[in-house]
């Protein structure tokens, strides 16, 4: 136990190591590069491999294959790199590959402001690859949460055989904070369920659509198959529309139906409050100051902070919105998660986005003003 002064990127690396990560491939990009540096220091020390790949496409290629060969895998980049990860994210979904992908978001589009923060990749992450299947993404608000959520992301990846995104921000990745990582409570480590030796291995076997197929690693006890193409439970190609639909339903259902299990939120709800702030990431901390300010005036206000962005934590959001008249959604983009809140808001509830994308944090003063809380 004891405090350290750490940047979020180091906390992410340490969270990954705590989760047993033993493979990393990545390509340098501001502001995510230091994750590559930390992993190059930490992973070989436990006998694993960390490598700088020739580009982001190779990073993902290395990682997906290593994950299917039994490694616990992390990769990290920023928004422009996610563009290049895109096709392989689809492959990871198709092959039900457990892996964790970090996006230290920076102001975009394109090269944008490489050293400045933003959260412009929220909907991009949701629809990051062709096919439109569900995505899992967690968003840390502090250096401590960067550690905790990276660890939890590995658990989700292993439990559901799925890629999981950490949607952080330059404002967390390369900001240092006083933090005691050892004081953070973590759930037990989840390991992928393996097919016992001697049993037949069907790489995508499920009975109910929501089942997560047990896995056998390449180089393990069974002959393994993996394919980018439409396949059946045996991972052989199929053109049978019924089987194709069943597989798609399975990929969707195993994530969608687990949304409540994956829902990580921080609720600070006040009985009788008519205003609710829904926030995530670094801006949830501006929201926290706003809430304090409003309450110091003797007024009521509720706050819901989302750590899980995808799948949408519908139950928690709906519960928090119950009885309120106004929902304020502050974001470091042009109003992206606002769309999800608008979708879920009961009729008559006013939903107000407080956005900026000029590299500056949305300030508590701005939330007060644009949210009509002055």
């Amino acid at each position: 136990m004891g405090r350290e002064f750490l940047e979020g990127n180091e906390a992410i690396a340490r969270g990954a190591m705590k989760a047993g990560c033993d493979f990393f491939a990545g390509y340098p990009i501001t502001p995510a590069s230091s994750i590559l540096h930390y992993m190059l220091e930490l992973v070989p020390a436990i006998g694993g491999t960390a490598i700088q790949a020739e580009d982001e496409i190779a990073s993902m290629g290395f990682c997906i294959a290593a994950a299917m060969a039994g490694r616990k895998v992390l990769t990290a980049t920023s928004g422009p790199g996610i563009s290049l990860y895109s096709e392989n994210v689809g492959l990871a979904i198709m092959g039900e590959t457990p892996m964790v992908i970090v996006n230290i978001q920076r102001q975009g589009p394109a090269t944008g402001s490489a050293t400045k923060g933003a959260e412009g990749d929220i909907q991009f992450t949701r629809w990051v690859t062709s096919g439109g299947l569900p995505i899992v993404a967690l968003s840390p608000a502090t250096v401590g949460e960067a550690y905790e959520l990276t660890y939890r992301a590995f658990n989700i990846a292993e439990q559901y055989r799925t890629p999981v995104f950490i949607l952080a921000n330059k404002e967390i990745g390369v900001t240092r904070e006083s933090v005691d990582l050892d004081a953070i409570e973590l759930p037990p480590l989840v390991k992928r369920k393996k097919v016992p030796k001697g049993n037949e291995y069907l790489p995508h076997y499920f009975e109910r659509l929501t089942d997560v197929p047990d896995i056998s690693d390449f180089g393990g006890n069974h002959i393994a198959r993996f394919t980018t193409s439409t396949h059946d439970k045996t991972a052989y190609l199929t053109t049978n529309p019924e089987i194709i639909q069943e597989m798609i339903d399975h990929y969707a259902a195993k994530i969608d139906e687990a949304a409540d299990d994956m829902a990580l939120v921080r609720e600070d709800l006040e009985d009788g409050a008519e205003t609710l702030i829904i926030s995530y990431g670094i801006i949830s901390r501006s929201a926290a100051v706003t809430v304090q300010e409003v309450r110091s005036r003797g007024e009521k206000i509720s706050s819901l902070v989302l750590q899980t962005l995808w799948p949408v934590s519908k139950a928690a959001i709906t519960k928090a919105m119950d009885g309120v008249k106004k929902v304020i959604v502050p974001e470091m983009n042009m109003g992206q998660y606002l769309l999800e809140i608008e979708r879920l808001a009961p009729p008559g509830v006013e939903v107000i986005g407080v956005d900026r994308m000029d590299t500056k944090l949305v300030s508590p003063a701005e939330i007060l003003e644009k949210g009509g809380l002055l």
């Binding site: 405090r3 290395f62 393994a224 501006s286």
Partner: protein
């Protein structure tokens, strides 16, 4: 190891190979099967990796492990498998199309010498998408995208791989009787081995260009390309080299120094401190020590930095917040203390300094010409003092002076952080700088 003798590594479970009549892929796959039969490897330890293109349909016809990925990326998956489990035999199959879109992977696997075998089914066009031209289409070759004859020059795949440092490279046609043996040799190489195998696409390239076996061989001659084993120059395989390099070069991972509260503080609210200087003045690292000192004094802290991408030049600005309570909002809209120690820092921070509130104290190197500001100004001989104790310690001088003036927390806490986190030689200089800085406003 296995008691079974494998008479084939192919399965007929999913029917015959799906290739067009006369397509070279039939012979190529048969050659690979023969090579595997010769080597008698345990199918569980072999992975056939493919990507998109007709040849990419073949992995599933083997009784080995099979990995079928995105167009042109088979090398990346093969490398990932090999890096994760160096004991696996990994064979990547790729078309000439894949060598175009995935060209960088070819260069890099050759350069790194990752121990996979790359088998290129080179038939000069994209058979799967309608016979478009590829990076190996001969000049003048007719394809669906070069209807008047290809005006581009063909890429010498072997020459490219050799230039990139490939350890073992072979070129031939699919009609070469030695092909299975060469494939077996390739698979046995510890490092990267590549075979560029020229063949016929009977659906598109061959009929459009009247190419059969004889013309294919004549085409090779016309390029002046050598055939057979072109390079056999073994060197350490990547994973072996990686581990050796790590074992010899590794630095001991230091146990992280934890920070306990050892001092008091007088900070009653979230307090923002900005220090603006130049690259090379150790602004960032000194700000970190200052924040760590505040933690030794029981405070919470955050730090953000602003500096150009070209790190050795221009400004360097650090923003530190110290607070007796959890810090939520990490921006400093109205600094409590602003320290400017160089022209670079002043230039970058000028607009901000002009807007400083009257509650802010601005500590400035005495020689700087400051803009108008409402902040209380304290001028300090920072350069002159730093010249005496060490040029690189100017930020320590400045922050020590600020600590003495503000009494936020004891300057001894700064000394504790310096001693805990810096190498002794540097710490000694910085401790002297701290003393010198502490004197500046003591009188």
């Amino acid at each position: 190891m296995s008691a079974t003798e494998y008479k084939t590594y192919m399965t007929d479970k999913i029917g015959p190979l799906p290739f067009c009549p006369g397509c070279g892929h039939h012979m190529l796959i048969k050659a690979l099967d023969k090579a595997l039969i010769k080597l008698q490897l345990d199918p569980k330890n072999v992975v056939v990796v493919t990507d998109i293109g007709c040849i990419g349909l073949s992995d599933r016809y083997f009784i080995t492990n099979a990995f079928h990925g995105l167009h042109g990326r088979s090398i990346t998956y093969a490398c990932g498998l090999k890096l994760a489990r160096p004991e696996l035999t990994v064979i990547a199959l790729k078309g000439d199309g894949g060598c175009g879109i995935g060209g960088t992977h070819l260069l890099n696997v050759a350069r790194r010498n990752i121990g996979i075998t790359l088998l290129v089914a080179n038939n000069f066009n994209y058979g799967m998408t309608g016979g478009q031209h590829s990076v190996t289409t001969p000049t003048g070759g007719v394809t669906s995208t070069t209807p008047w004859g290809n005006v581009e020059g063909p890429m010498d795949l072997c020459g490219t791989a050799i230039a990139a440092g490939a350890a073992w490279v072979y070129r031939g046609t699919v009609f070469d009787k030695k092909l299975p043996d060469m494939l077996a040799q390739a698979i046995e190489q510890p490092g990267f081995a590549m075979l560029d195998v020229w063949e016929l696409c009977t659906a598109y390239y061959s009929p459009r260009n009247q190419i059969k076996k004889k013309e294919l061989e004549a085409l090779l001659d016309s390029y002046g390309f050598k055939t057979g084993l072109l390079v056999d120059n073994p060197r350490a395989e990547y994973s072996v080299h990686y581990r050796e390099a790590y074992e010899t070069g590794k630095s001991v991972i230091k146990k992280k120094t934890k920070i306990d509260t050892k001092f008091d503080n007088s900070v009653r609210k979230q307090t923002g401190i900005v220090i603006a200087g130049s690259a090379g003045q150790k602004i960032k690292s000194t700000a970190t020590l200052f924040a760590e000192a505040s933690m030794y004094s029981g405070l919470d802290a955050t730090q953000k930095d602003d500096y150009p991408i070209t790190v050795m030049t221009g400004h360097s600005i650090a923003e530190i917040i110290v607070s007796p309570e959890r810090i939520d909002y990490t921006a400093i809209d109205e600094p409590d203390y602003f320290i400017v120690i160089s022209e670079d820092g002043l230039r970058r921070a000028r607009a901000r300094i002009e807007k400083l509130p009257e509650t802010c104290t601005l500590y400035a190197e005495e020689t700087l010409e400051l803009p108008d500001t409402k902040a209380r100004i304290v001028r300090l001989p920072l350069n002159e003092t730093a010249k005496k104790v060490g040029r690189l310690s100017i930020a320590v001088v400045a922050l020590s002076a600020v600590l003495v003036d503000t009494g936020l927390f004891p300057v001894e806490a700064f000394g504790t952080a310096i001693s805990a986190f810096q190498k002794k030689k540097i710490a000694d200089i910085n401790l002297k700088a701290m003393e010198a800085g502490s004197e500046l406003l003591n009188a």
